[in-house]
Amino acid sequence: MKSLVITQALLEQHKLSEDEYKKILEILGREPNWTELGMFSAMWSEHCSYKSSRIHLKKLPTTGPRVVQGPGENAGAVDIGDGLCAVFKMESHNHPSFIEPYQGAATGVGGILRDIFTMGARPIALLNSLRFGGLDNANTRHLLKGVVSGIAGYGNCMGVPTVGGEIVFNDIYALNPLVNVFCLGIARKDKIFLGKAAGVGNPVIYFGSKTGRDGIHGATMASDSFDEEAAQKRPTVQVGDPFTEKLLLEACLELMSGDCLVGIQDMGAAGLTSSACEMASREGTGVELELADVPRREPGMTPYEIMLSESQERMLMVAKAGREGEVIKICRKWDLDVAVIGRVTDTGKVVLKENGHIVAEIPAKALADDGPRYDRPSSPPAYQEMLQALNHDTLPDVKDANAALLALLDSPTIASKRWVYEQYDHMVRTNTMVRPGSDAAVLRVKGTNKALALSVDCNGRYCLLNPYEGAKIAIAECARNLACSGAEPIGVTDCLNFGNPQRPEVMWQFVLAIEGLKDACEALKVPIVSGNVSLYNETNDLSIYPTPMIGMVGLIEEADRTATQWFKQAGDVIVLLGRTREDLGGTEYLKVLHHREQGSPPLLNLEDEQAVQACTIRLIREGLVQSAHDCSDGGLAVALAECCVSGTDGRVGAVVELQLDGLRRDALLFGESQSRIVLSVKQEQVEKVLEVAMNAGVRASRIGTVGGSRLVIRVNGDQRAAGCTIDLDVTTVHERWALAIPRALGQD
């Protein structure tokens, strides 16, 4: 091994601290060479080692009767009965998407898909959570278009439907957009594959695309903040090849249907380095690889480059000794590069050779598991109190409620996302019962009577104002979206997007958010089975809002017992479940109409939440409701408007009468009190519905009737002349809501 002079600059370039370097010296008992330094740098990056978050993530509830695989593997798995598991995970591709939106988002989709099918699951659904700056910014429009077509380009080509997601626009994300993708697959419970290098002597096989010089050190980049200089650097971008990934998917599933595989893992962040050391570390074995046998796209690649390349669409697997032939045959059938590149050993080490000469030798566990771990200091930001202080007396109540409602519907965060999801194939595989456009997507599970409901949610502004409550609400809202389709939540995945953990205020947000997730999951009895942490989301010293994105999976026992959010039939009665309070803090109303992002987020009582959800699920299962929609951004008025205009088969009006009961008008109409669901119910079933709710301890009020061509919301019986009543033609309401995003994009 060549010796190397380790300089301060070299360490900085590899983002290793002096202490971390000392630890490396201890582990190796000598100086690392260039390749080894690179491997430590990648594996000990924040992205791969979770060094700032690990001690906190331990607090999350990860067990439950349905959990088949918790965190630690490529994805989590929960039992859905019939011998099947739902396998799912969410992941971020924020930094790459900022550099090159199309390829960044596309390769994000590629990565999460591989996480799912390496587990032996066929992916059946994708969702995405996106955060951008305001659409009045040309670069944001460019990013949005690029990201959406990148997600579409990859997912559509793979034949995996993108069935839902969410998008929020806020200037805080302008220079640090978030691109989080969620994928769910179905596997047989007894055929789940894990990433382990078991069986000394077994062959280690590389397959997929060839290795090129793409994205070397992507993992380290994802663990870095951005500044103008970094934007200039523009490291080699990874280009996705969904066609090859589709072949990889089919080849994997074909390989897995036999019994020749022992373990398998995709080469994601930190490429061959992470897959090799993690597979060995999980099993307590070692691996020895011959780098000359790694299929390569470019001549002259060094061991350093081969080990750290993040070329896409590659896999590493361990097969049973003597079964190499079968494996190779299947890979060739699918036109994939394949090569036996090494063996499993009992040394506990990752040993790399180049034409027989050792070029690196590191204990696998040291790389994969013994990375640094920090309990970073945390303290609330100085501005926190100021943020939370919101004196309602300084806010004039709403005067023109019509205009306020239209302004909210025109806010891209609230507006219809049809422009986005029409670019996604959301129907391929013919499982999609409820398409994007309702609270949750619903997919039947072929071969069973069941269906799964999926939703992703997070309100970053709530999390900024109160990280604990905000995180709780993210879980509650996600579950509520599932409840509106009649599904009981069975598992959670998360993607925790935060700023720079070396800032105590960011750590404070992180620690509190974890507490919130924990309490909410425990109350709703739903485990977190997989997840991802994305830190250093800051640009020019400005951190994003803490954004712990939540993806949740719900089970519907009988596929035909589900509901959608829009009103169905004139004459149906509108019933509101839950209680409206004076919750104006952190609302979209406050932002859009008063240009303030301030106050305390709405109060969430987990017991009330649980009761409302259980009640809704029961009502849907008993076939007692025509539609169910939760109140979220924009409050009750926006929820009612959406019920009127979001239907797939046209629009319908409604007449609603509300009582102030001592509330402000704006709080009543646009406040974002939690644990509220708008139902529509056939006339003859209203009594029954109210009775079920009463028995469940849930407040239920009859607030109006579906029908006509106008949305009318009267407060305390007031008339239009008073200027407070909402009275709008549904065509106007629809136009404002449906075309807001295309309108905002039309500025180009």
Binding site: S149, A152, G153, N156, C157, M158, G159, D241, P242, F243, T244, K246, L247, W334, D335, Y421, E422, Q423, Y424, D425, H426, M427, V428, R429, T430, T432, M433, R444, K446, A559, D560, T648
Partner: protein, 240 residues
């Protein structure tokens, strides 16, 4: 009925087509790897949707050279039923089994949504269970569905009643607004002069079950069964 579904590298809707014919309509289905030859005894061949060869170069351009395509051409020449859906349609065009080409959608975007199509010719082996002029709601999902051909060919296709589906409004008007992709003459599906090869961009297999909220697409498959001489009762209908 014995159905063969061809699997190209990158086919996506192969399982969906298999599901419709086998699990929903109770027919026997064989999946045919594109490097294999067509097995004997098939009554119809389906070229499914998807992204064969990633849609690289041009949609369908590489798939048309797959070894199986020789057999498919022969099968078509013998007058037996071939249906190409979406990417399958694009492959049929590139292979010369149907006239014309597909250009990018005028929006340049991939579009996935329900559209309405009007049945222009109900006297075919693919549409005999429809009424002439009937409007069907069937989803599309493509980026290259903008049908084009030269005026002479178009005139021939029209004169021969080979235009089977046109994009239309919900009440059956063939208008520019109802055209989702810029397709010439609102064409959504055409067949060959002999009437045994159909290509269509909309996906009937996605709208053939009540659980998915729409059964209009089922008429296409039932028509094929009828053409083959089986009534709906005879074919074991699995109620889904």
């Amino acid at each position: 009925m014995n159905i063969g579904v061809v699997v190209f590298p990158g086919s996506n809707c192969d399982h969906d087509c298999e599901y419709i014919f086998k699990d929903v309509l109770g027919q026997s289905v064989k999946m045919i790897w594109h490097k294999d030859t067509l097995p004997a005894g098939l009554d119809a061949v389906v070229l499914p949707g998807g992204f064969s060869y990633g849609d690289y170069l041009r949609t369908g351009a590489i798939a048309r050279f797959s070894p199986v395509m020789g057999g498919v051409k022969e099968f078509a020449r013998e007058g037996r039923l071939v249906i190409g859906i979406c990417n399958g349609f694009q492959i049929l065009l590139e292979a010369g089994l149907l006239p014309g080409v597909m250009l990018r959608n005028t929006s340049l975007n991939f579009i996935c949504k329900d559209v309405y199509v009007k049945v222009e010719n109900a006297a075919t082996r693919f549409t005999n269970r429809c009424e002439s002029g009937q409007v069907l709601k069937i989803p599309i999902a493509h980026a290259d569905g903008n049908y084009y051909t030269d005026p002479v060919t178009l005139a021939g296709v029209k004169a021969n009643a080979q235009v089977i589906f046109r994009y239309c409004t919900a009440d059956g008007k063939v208008t520019a607004e109802a055209n989702p992709n810029g397709s010439l003459d609102n064409i959504a599906g055409i067949m060959n002069a002999d009437g045994n090869v159909l290509g269509m961009m909309p996906h009937p297999e996605r709208s053939a079950e009540t659980v998915l909220g729409n059964e209009d697409g089922r008429l296409i498959f039932l028509s094929m069964l009828s053409a083959f001489g089986k009534s709906e009762q005879q074919s074991r209908l699995v109620g889904v």
